[in-house]
């Protein structure tokens, strides 16, 4: 049976695709929202640490599964290997309705105005593709607000003096600090820093018909047992479905965007839940599959006019793959600092996000989510025993006396860190797989050293009797769950993939609506920014649709 023609297909139901689909459906466009995973419930994996999205040694609780998905990773010495979704280096984001937003830690950061103009702010960095965004913070501000209200954010922005201007306050009050938070709050104040409760995409009070968070220790990496965590699967996607205009088509793997001889998209080819090839025609194609999968799909969509993949005639698709160089410090305390109040992370400072002498960019520092016992087996100072009685003693005696402070350093993008498609390796359906290669810019290490040093100072001030640093940003592939940048937006089609509205420079009716658009990734967890971009792109598609129906 042939699928009925629709106005738009949106590929990917995560932080970007969900809001975009909702914007289109709410503006009267018929939408098919494709998701390669399925609807997920808390019940199946519940609080199982070993099969969560944070510790995947026995698989990813919320996908994708290793029987159908794999990638090729090329290391700095040029060695290639096939990597499966539960293995390090795959750069996994969950494959389910809501994607990462089902099981994320749910920090809800706005980027700062400086994050949108990194090159103007700091100048050129040798060997990098550091650039300004074609849009400013003010352009995105209304969409940040929309994300905060339609998906739901709890926080106390006024306590953060570095927070950018906002037109509307947050809809929910902040979360109370746990014991760690209270200890770190006093210490930060003594240092003259500016601590505040982390804004979270979690209900601190009943909101939008869903309950308040009851503060489980198993939060990041897990679905929420009380539905208090706000993802796209329990907010904008149900709203889109309720319009009657949006069908969520799960367990479908989109293989290719179909392009005609005039260089326009006519729809997508995909494999349905029975692995049968299908075609869905549409007037508009919106790609929101994450920085890796979005780039892979465009590169796999070849035609006469686009022999190197859709929108890739200037070889920018898949370039500038970036994530966050996570960097940390750990402190051991004499007394217990653990009160079992989840999710752990609750306090942050933005004192080192910008304007730190000699540093390009920077990043926030926050206390870490509660580590579950297996994860904690890796929390050891350099040189400590990795097994045996000493390791067991540490586990027994220090678990409740450890505080970790960490943060995402804003990576400096470079051209060679990239997603391409592998010439030989194909996935379960025969679609060429993503090939990840390149390395972080060497600058990142310097930024991480600064941040880890500040984190350690914070812990010492808080009374830690023993501290150590784990400095991130070393050479190696970037990406991870915060992957971004592979379809950079810009004003010049020779140095970017989309225009300022997420529309491919070269194909009018193909849009990107996810972290791929990001020019620079901020020193913040990117979920809220990706949501804002989803609303922003969706809003502009709906606008253009009203005028021209996007037909040239």
């Amino acid at each position: 049976m042939r699928n009925r023609h629709v106005n738009a297909v949106v590929i990917g139901s995560g932080a970007g695709g969900g809001p975009a689909a909702k914007e289109l459906a709410n503006n009267g466009m018929t939408v098919v929202l494709f998701e390669r995973g399925d609807w997920q419930a808390f019940d199946e994996h519940n609080d199982d640490e070993l099969c969560s999205q944070r510790t995947t040694v026995l698989g990813n609780a919320y996908g994708p599964d290793q029987d159908k998905h794999w990638r090729v990773v090329v290391d700095s010495r040029g060695n290639e290997r096939i990597v499966y979704p539960h293995e390090g280096g795959y750069n996994n984001n969950a494959a389910c309705v809501g994607s990462g937003t089902l099981s994320y830690g749910a920090m809800a950061w706005r980027f700062m105005p400086e994050d949108f103009r990194m090159k103007s702010e700091y100048g050129h960095v040798e060997g990098s593709t550091l650039e300004d965004w074609p849009i400013s913070y003010d352009d995105l501000e209304p969409f940040y607000t929309q994300a905060e209200w339609e998906i739901g954010v709890a926080g106390a922005d006024p306590q953060n003096p570095f927070v950018p201007d906002r037109k509307k306050p947050l809809p929910m009050p902040p979360f109370e600090y746990n014991l760690e938070g209270r200890i770190l709050f006093e210490a930060a104040k003594r240092k003259g820093w500016h601590p505040f409760p982390i804004p979270m995409l979690r209900n601190s009070i009943p909101y939008a018909g869903r309950p308040a968070c009851y503060r489980m220790r198993t939060c990041v990496g897990f679905a929420c047992p009380v539905n208090a965590k706000c993802g796209t699967q329990n907010t904008v996607i149900p709203v889109a479905m309720a319009t009657g205009n949006c069908e969520v088509r799960t367990r479908c793997q989109v293989a290719e965007i179909m392009l005609d001889d005039k260089g326009r998209a006519t729809g997508v080819k995909y494999f349905d839940r029975f692995n049968k090839p299908q075609i869905q025609t549409a007037d508009v194609v919106v790609v929101a599959g994450s920085a890796t999968e979005t780039a892979r799909l465009l590169l796999n969509s070849k035609s006469k006019l686009f022999p190197a993949g859709a929108g890739n005639n200037y070889d920018w698709v898949g370039r500038n793959l970036q994530g966050h160089a996570y960097t940390a410090a750990f402190g051991l305390f004499d007394d217990e600092v653990y009160d079992d109040v989840g999710p752990g992370a609750c306090i942050a400072i933005c004192d080192f996000n910008h304007h730190v002498d000699g540093i390009v960019g920077g990043g926030l520092l926050a206390n870490e989510f509660i580590p579950m016992p297996y994860l904690y087996t890796g929390t050891r100072p350099p040189g400590a025993a990795g097994w045996g009685k000493e390791h067991k003693d540490f586990q027994r005696n220090q678990f409740k006396k450890t505080i970790a402070v960490m943060g995402p350093f804003q990576e400096i993008p470079n051209f060679e860190s990239r997603v391409s498609v592998d010439p030989a390796v194909k996935d379960f359906w025969g679609i060429p797989v993503a090939r990840l290669s390149g390395s972080r810019h060497p600058y990142d290490r310097k930024g991480c050293e600064m941040m880890s040093a500040r984190a350690e100072e914070w812990l010492l001030e808080a009374g830690a009797h023993f501290t150590w640093q784990r400095i991130g940003g070393g050479p190696g592939l970037s990406g991870g769950q915060h992957q971004a940048g592979t379809c950079r937006m810009g004003n010049d089609k020779k140095t970017s993939v989309t225009n300022r509205f997420g529309q491919l420079h070269e194909i009018d009716n193909v849009f990107v609506a996810d972290g791929s658009l990001v020019v620079t990734n901020g020193g913040f967890n990117p979920a809220l920014t990706i949501m804002a971009l989803g609303f922003y792109v969706g809003h502009h598609i709906a606008d253009m649709w009203k005028g021209t129906r996007l037909k040239s």
Binding site: D47, D48, E49, L50, V57, L58, G59, E176, I205, P211, A212, Y214, R215, M216, R217, V226, D340, M372, P373, Y374, Y376, T377, G386, W387, G388, K389, H391, K392, Q395, R396, F399, K400
Partner: protein, 190 residues
């Protein structure tokens, strides 16, 4: 009770068909799914070195080898050969070096041998390219998973590791329906 004919036939076929497998049961009764008794015995000694019993249970009491065995028949089925060949080579090495099986050796001697394995200080043709440490860290990681993960995977019997770390499980946590924290029930305020 009404019985659907298709259901009935399905049940019957399953029952009849499964009888054919019966002879396969003979002599196949082992506690382990994948491991042999010898492998399990060696692995028990190694994992106990990695997490030794003290005032709290160690790897053996927690059922870590049961975890590994269970996963080798499931998620880790691709690692069967790594275990089988690695354990055999390590036992072979121990015998050649000390004249005895690893399990029979004194505690400190065992520790020393594992440290050699971990540091690639091991002279055996099976680990030609310094891959001994990889074998060791595989067992080390799986031991940690079996001891600190959920019992549903076969280890951490009775949540011994959670008790050791004084983490309450099942998690005692009530509904938040009644009142916000600030308006708790009528408890006397001093």
């Amino acid at each position: 009770m009404s019985i659907n004919r298709r259901e009935f036939l399905k049940g019957l076929t399953l029952a009849g068909g499964s009888l054919l497998f019966f002879p396969a049961c003979k002599g196949n009764i082992s506690f382990w799914r994948v491991l042999t008794e010898e492998e399990a015995s060696l692995l028990t000694a190694i994992t106990e070195q990695i997490i030794p019993a003290d005032e709290d249970p160690g790897a053996t009491d927690a059922g870590v080898v049961n975890f590994i065995d269970k996963q080798l028949s499931g998620f880790y089925s691709g690692l069967k050969d790594s275990y089988r060949n690695g354990l055999e080579a390590f036992q072979d090495y121990c015998r050649k070096k000390t004249g005895a099986n690893f399990e029979a050796l004194a505690w400190d001697v065992q520790t020393g041998l594992l440290k050699d394995l971990e540091a690639n200080r091991i002279d055996h043709p099976y680990w030609e390219e310094n891959t001994a440490s990889r074998f060791f860290s595989m067992i080390r990681n799986h031991t940690m998973q079996g001891f600190y993960g959920s019992p549903r995977h076969g280890g951490n019997k009775n949540y011994v590791s959670y008790k050791m770390m004084r983490i309450d499980y099942p998690h005692v946590i009530g509904r938040n329906i009644y009142t916000p924290r600030s308006e708790t029930l009528n408890i006397y305020q001093p």
